[in-house]
């Protein structure tokens, strides 16, 4: 029983944290968000370090580590709010690794691991995937729908880029008729993608909580730091409860993906539902602690808040995941989705 990272995993976490803190200082994140751009050099560096292929098997040019190592990176990427296409590319890699044929893995995974090509995943409802990260920039798009998943080259898809709430990421709507079927079950990949988003929201919420706590220690009103007042300090305690709950849920679900796949479906939906709600609540609560300054564009908090919400809206809402949890936990129903 060790519900904590191993020494090797701790080393990955430290390396990621240090590198991202250096490359993505707040002013740099803001500059990229306002320019609607990614940091291509940092992305290249991450690919060279093997991050893009961390979960991909060695035969296909990856590091062959697990979902736990993957979400360590995602939590830190969320904490840094790094504008890079890591998540979308990871999602495509997961889908092809889990549901692709040998030939498809051979064809796509090495380029996704090296960064030579970029991929993404969209969830199709009513003929269209409406919130696809990096759709317009990806070379290949995996579309998951009721009949499994297909992979299509972007040139074969109809992509409409749009400005999303989260300015640190690019999004598009995608329609595609053709594409090549992935023969395997894509659901375990979607579950891992949900765990990845939950882990990102852990990092986002952790950062928003730290901002609130720092501010509550410094900001004085009525001659005392506002963190002295229980109306403020209890808000911060609530943030910790929700951050740690999200963390436990995301870590556990990642471990299930690697070691106890039968438990993954429920653990992933639990993590996604809880971290979606908690990410938004912690960020909005942090905004409230900041008072007026937290509502200004010049303060960085809103970038985190918008990422948290957008993550919550991708790959199934909290309510959809709760419905799935209800079905999986023994409340059979005709209504169950997913």
């Amino acid at each position: 029983m060790n519900f904590d990272f191993t020494d090797d995993q701790q080393a990955i976490k430290r390396t990621a944290k240090d590198l991202l803190a250096d490359r993505f200082k707040p002013e740099r994140v803001r500059e990229l968000a306002e320019a609607k751009a990614y940091d291509d050099d940092a992305w290249k560096e991450m690919c060279e370090l093997g991050w893009a292929g961390i979960f991909i098997d060695e035969a296909h040019g990856g590091q062959e580590l697990g979902t736990v190592e993957l979400i360590i990176l995602l939590e830190e990427l969320g904490y840094a709010l790094a504008p890079v296409p890591f998540f979308s590319n990871t999602a495509a890699g997961l889908a092809i690794q889990v549901a692709g044929s040998d030939e498809q893995r051979e064809r796509w995974l090495p380029s996704l691991a090296s960064g030579e090509l970029r991929g993404t995943v969209g969830v199709v409802k009513g003929g269209e995937a409406r919130l696809v990260p990096d759709a317009a920039e990806a070379d290949l798009i995996v579309l998951a729908g009721d009949d499994g998943a297909v992979v299509a080259e972007r040139s074969a898809a109809e992509v409409e880029a749009f400005d999303a709430l989260d300015a640190t990421r690019r999004f598009g709507r995608v329609r595609a008729d053709g594409g090549e079927q992935l023969p395997g079950d894509v659901q375990p990949a979607l579950d891992r993608i949900c765990v990845a988003l939950a882990a990102e929201n852990v990092g986002v919420a952790q950062r928003a909580m730290e901002m609130a706590v720092d501010y509550a220690r410094e900001r004085k009103q009525f001659d005392r730091p506002i963190g002295f007042y229980q109306a403020v300090s209890h808000r911060c305690a609530q943030m910790l409860l929700e951050v740690e709950g999200s963390r436990s849920a995301a870590y556990y679900a990642a471990w299930c993906a690697d070691a106890e796949p039968d438990s993954l479906a429920q653990a992933a939906s639990m993590a996604k539902a809880y971290a979606s709600d908690a990410g938004w609540r912690v960020c909005t609560s942090s905004l409230q602690v900041h008072g007026g300054i937290g509502f200004t564009w010049e303060h960085d908090l809103h970038f985190f808040l918008k990422r948290a919400k957008t993550n919550a809206l991708m790959f199934g809402s909290a309510a959809e995941h709760r419905e799935r949890v209800a079905g999986l936990s023994g409340l059979a129903s005709d209504l169950s989705v997913a």
Binding site: F3, G227, E244
Partner: protein
Amino acid sequence: MDLTLSPSELSFRDELRAWLAENHPGEEPSGEDEAFDHRREWQRRLFDAGYAGFSWPKEYGGRGATLVEQALFGEEMARARAPQPANVLGMVMGGPVVIHHGTDEQKERWLLPILTGEEIWCQGFSEPESGSDLASLKTRAVKSNGEWVVTGQKVWTTFAHKAKWCMLVARTDPDVPKHQGLTYFIMDMEQDEVQVRPLYQITGQPEFNELFIEEARIPDENVVGGVGNGWGVAITTLMNERAGLGAASAAGLRIALEDLKELARERGVADDPVIRQRIAQLSIEVELLRLNSWRGLTHIMKRGVPGPEGSLPKWQWGEINQTLTELAVDILGEDGAAWDSPWTYRLLRSRANSIEGGTTEILKNIVAERVLGLPKLR
């Protein structure tokens, strides 16, 4: 990260599970005295099997269980719906204090009868005017002719009418700062100077008592941890009360959740999307309580002290149990208004969960000050 149990932990769990299947004492009888006797017999059966004082060191009659074994023990007891043993306060709080702070004579005198259940213990900490601010307590102990004379009032004293011994914190020096003037005593309850009155709760049950103490006598050898050190000794007790309970309380809530799902099916609302959302949310929160508890145990095993997640289970547990019982009574609808509905009893009883053993507000203060480093209130 590895959340699997080791072969020895698994065999421990399976052995305990098998033992429980054989030895479960059955449903608690109605009637307060009958129920207590039932729990006292259960205590004895646990002792005979070596399961009483499970976390205590072997030299004191315990089993020296690891933290993981303690958590598994709590989970299995909850899973089997086993009753609390009669001397739970003695085993969880009194015994560990004597082990940590007591003299050899005190250990010799008190520890074994705690485990066997022969001598029941109760806790005299809270007073009518000292709840969350425990250190402000006013019960006085004055030394006279080699013994202590105690006068004051205590409240929320579970099993006071069944207890032989009371863990009593009293003020021995009114002239020093409040935390420094306290002393921890073991008081004999079998004296006329200690009067016990039942305290009826909103459930109608007298689960707790008030103690009226009028010049009760305590021999000097019943001071634990030295005169003036009562606060530090009492804190050990409270920490013992909270440590390791997370896994067991999560297991208890899992059982309650199964009851709730069964109720939803019986009442034909298992398909109702709103009910399903609420049950799913509870399922998630119960699971997070379990996971936070195990993460907390890992933290203690690795670093010797609880991590940030360790302050959360008591708070989470109270909120979840309150939400769960509210949902059950919502599902019952009009039938939830019946006084004899078990869910209605649970609904009412759950209101104490955010007060007993540290209010949620105090727990939030602890998190804010000690975990997040926000300014201290005092």
